[in-house]
Amino acid sequence: MKSISELQKIREKVLSEVNLRQDRQDGIRIVVGMATCGIAAGARPVMQEFISEISKRNLLNVKVIQTGCIGMCRLEPIVEVYVPGQEKVTYVKMTPDKVARIVSEHIVNGKVVDEYTVGAQS
């Protein structure tokens, strides 16, 4: 180790990973419905896309969580986004190619992608 900046670099690189293990309630949660209906409709590639998008952007305060059946099986794959202090947003009929837009507009810039939400699609 020749300098402190080297140490800092390693720290930042690994922090995003270890950070998952903190009992923190303040981050954004992306909840993917992964019951039989969700999986059958293709929830897994959607979730994987979220994971790779988040790691690409190195977003520290975002967690991807699975959940069971959300109830509107005909609209699966369903993804719910919880931003602390705001009402939850439900995206329906998700596909992997919709993911990048949600991450950049909603997760990063705070602007809900209206056309993908349950209100617009049902």
């Binding site: 020749k2 402190i4 140490l7 390693i10 690189k13 998952l20 293990r21 790691s55 969580i65």
Partner: protein, 598 residues
């Protein structure tokens, strides 16, 4: 770095490893691969979570689901339900993490066992993978070393430690800042830093757990110590009976060298420091500082008189700074968060936290770290979850064979160095053994003394012969052959051993006897005068009897008695021949009508 959406943390401490956590890790990896989840879910082997009684323990993040007593067969269910479908497997959760009457899962910080704890020395145990230096770095690892090397002078480090009020965690409680100052000011061109990881107290395992769960915290602190006192070489003296700790320490030292955090020119500052491990053969006396130093030098581990203290003349005759594992584990946090923060925790003269290995008659056996000043009652009743089987708390033994006991009437005493010393016990390295009404205090004193008799190195007479004679006197009492004069003789002998012994082992060996005599003299007298053991432990003093009114004459006792001491006719009360009886207690456990009493 790959991003994993979920981490499965499996405890890899000695306790959970012996209850099979490695097979769980293998099974998790196998099941995850089968489910095609191995790119999404990461399995991490960590250090001790502390709740050893419920091992093996598995925690799944981000949910923070705390699974206890997980078996190999359960792994597939966790993978299928929790990791694929996101449904937490409630039946495997530690019962205290589920809110009573509901299905809500509590955060770990809300659970009784963790609520009152404060983790400084154990901060990374059970959080990071101890075999991966990058995870330690992510938790602010090596930033304290960087800060010290680039921004602080040795005097400032010592001043910071002095202001923090940190005292030695190995048992003595000597102010750490002062010790570092002595070593720094000692004249000499070559100096050494050493770490005492020869944890010998029966029942204490915090040093082992720190080294198993967070070895870099000790390595970093030793490098800071090297810079402060002007040493470029350190030794960690650890017992060979800690194979997991030794292995992780070796990996950690290797990785630190690879990353240039040990070796030459650290952080480009020109500071050189390296570490070596020395294995001890597991002798209790080698935890004494002069014996430890002699043992590192390659000689037989025997103590020598002090002064000169190691800070002046230690390893190979050079000034040496020797601290315990837990003391080192506190250093980096003090540097990072400041002395004022550390000094705000604890009591007036005992700052910070202390790790205790909770054992004996307690529900939550395991490792706990509490702020100084926490009462024994809080540890036993809240963190420890109380005494099992509805028994009553009788006493707690602190400090192992060098310490003493705290009786039930002093349960509200705050735990810190000075209040423990004032009631005739001591902090010791942190073994905390809880006893209930079924423990005989004479027998406990005898047990600890037997340990010191075995472990006495034999160099000085008061310890070698004195402890042996003391043991014989206690043996006489537990066999019912003692007299009141023997009790006086015990008291006198204890004082001679304390005053005459060369090192800490002998000087503290009589403590368990003296403190049980102080608080439980009535039990000694019951053994001597009434020839009775109130707790029913001492075999020679207990007689088994059949209560005729309760006996239905089934004959089960007679069938099970290994020496044929029970006789009688079916459907009539049986009788025990006390001459033949060997007091094994089998009849009492077999009797379906509870008609046999001691």
């Amino acid at each position: 770095m790959e991003f994993y959406r979920s981490h499965v943390l499996v405890c890899g401490g000695t306790g959970c490893t012996s209850s099979g956590s490695q097979t769980l890790i293998d099974e998790f990896e196998k099941c995850l691969k089968e489910a095609n989840l191995d790119k999404e879910v990461k399995v991490v082997r960590t250090g001790c979570f502390g709740l050893c009684a419920l091992g093996p323990i598995v925690i799944v993040y981000p949910e923070g689901a705390f699974y206890s007593m997980v078996k190999k067969e359960d792994v597939k269910e966790i993978v299928d339900e929790h990791l694929i479908k996101g449904r937490i497997v409630k039946r495997l959760l530690y019962h205290d993490t589920v809110e009573a009457g509901t299905d809500n899962v509590k955060s770990l910080n809300q659970v009784d066992f963790y609520k009152k704890q404060m983790r400084i020395a154990l901060r990374n145990c059970g959080v990071i993978d101890p075999e991966n230096i990058e995870e330690y770095i992510a938790m602010d690892g090596y930033t304290a070393l960087a800060k010290v090397l680039t921004e602080m002078t040795p005097e400032q480090v010592i001043d910071e430690l002095k202001r923090s009020g940190l005292r030695g965690r190995g048992g003595g409680g000597f102010p750490t800042g002062l010790k570092w100052e002595f070593a720094k000011n000692a004249p000499g061109d070559k100096k050494y830093v050493a770490c005492n990881a020869d944890e010998g107290d029966p029942g204490a395992f915090m040093d082992r757990s720190i080294l198993e769960g967070d070895p870099h915290s000790v390595i970093e602190a030793m490098a800071i110590a090297g810079y402060t006192i002007g040493a470029d070489q350190g030794y960690i003296y650890i017992r060979a009976e800690y194979p997991i700790a030794v292995k992780r320490l070796r990996i950690a030292i290797e990785q630190a060298r690879e990353y240039g955090l040990l070796g030459k020119n650290i952080f480009g500052t020109g500071f050189n420091f390296d570490l070596d491990i020395r294995l001890g053969a597991g002798a209790f006396v080698c935890g004494e500082e002069t014996a430890l130093i002699t043992s590192i030098e390659g000689h037989r581990g025997e103590p020598r008189p002090r002064p000169p203290f190691p800070a002046v003349k230690g390893l190979f005759g050079k000034p040496t700074l020797l601290n315990n594992v837990e003391t080192y584990a506190n250093i980096t946090t003090i540097i990072n968060r400041g002395a004022d923060w550390f000094a705000s925790i604890g009591t007036e003269k005992s700052k910070g936290t202390k790790v205790f290995a909770l054992g004996g008659k307690i529900t939550n056996t395991g490792l706990v770290e509490i702020p100084m000043g926490t009462t024994l009652r809080e540890i036993v009743e809240e963190i420890g979850g109380g005494i099992p089987n509805g028994k009553k708390f009788k006493a707690a033994q602190t400090g192992g064979p060098s310490g003493g006991c705290i009786p039930a009437e002093l349960i509200d005493v705050p735990i810190d160095y000075d209040s423990l010393t004032s009631i005739g016990s001591m902090m010791g390295s942190g073994g905390l053994i809880i006893m209930d009404e079924d423990n005989c205090m004479v027998d406990i004193a005898k047990f600890f003394l037997e340990f010191t008799v075995d472990e006495s190195c034999g160099k000085c007479t008061p310890c070698r012969i004195g402890t042996k004679r003391l043991y014989e006197l206690l043996e006489k009492i537990t066999e019912g052959k003692g007299t009141l004069e023997d009790i006086d003789r015990i008291e006198k002998l204890c004082l001679s051993i304390k005053q005459g012994s060369l090192c800490g082992l002998g000087q503290t060996a009589p403590n368990p006897v003296l403190s049980t005599l102080r608080y439980f003299k009535d039990e000694y007298i019951a053994h001597v005068v009434d020839k009775k053991c109130p707790a029913g432990v001492c075999k020679a003093l207990s007689n088994y009897e059949i209560i005729p009114e309760k006996c239905r004459g089934c004959g089960i006792c007679a069938k099970n008695c290994p020496v044929g001491a029970i006789s009688g006719q079916v459907k009539n009360p049986y009788h025990i021949d006390t001459e033949k009886c060997i007091k094994c207690g089998v009849c009492m456990t077999k009797c379906p009508f509870k008609a046999i009493v001691k």
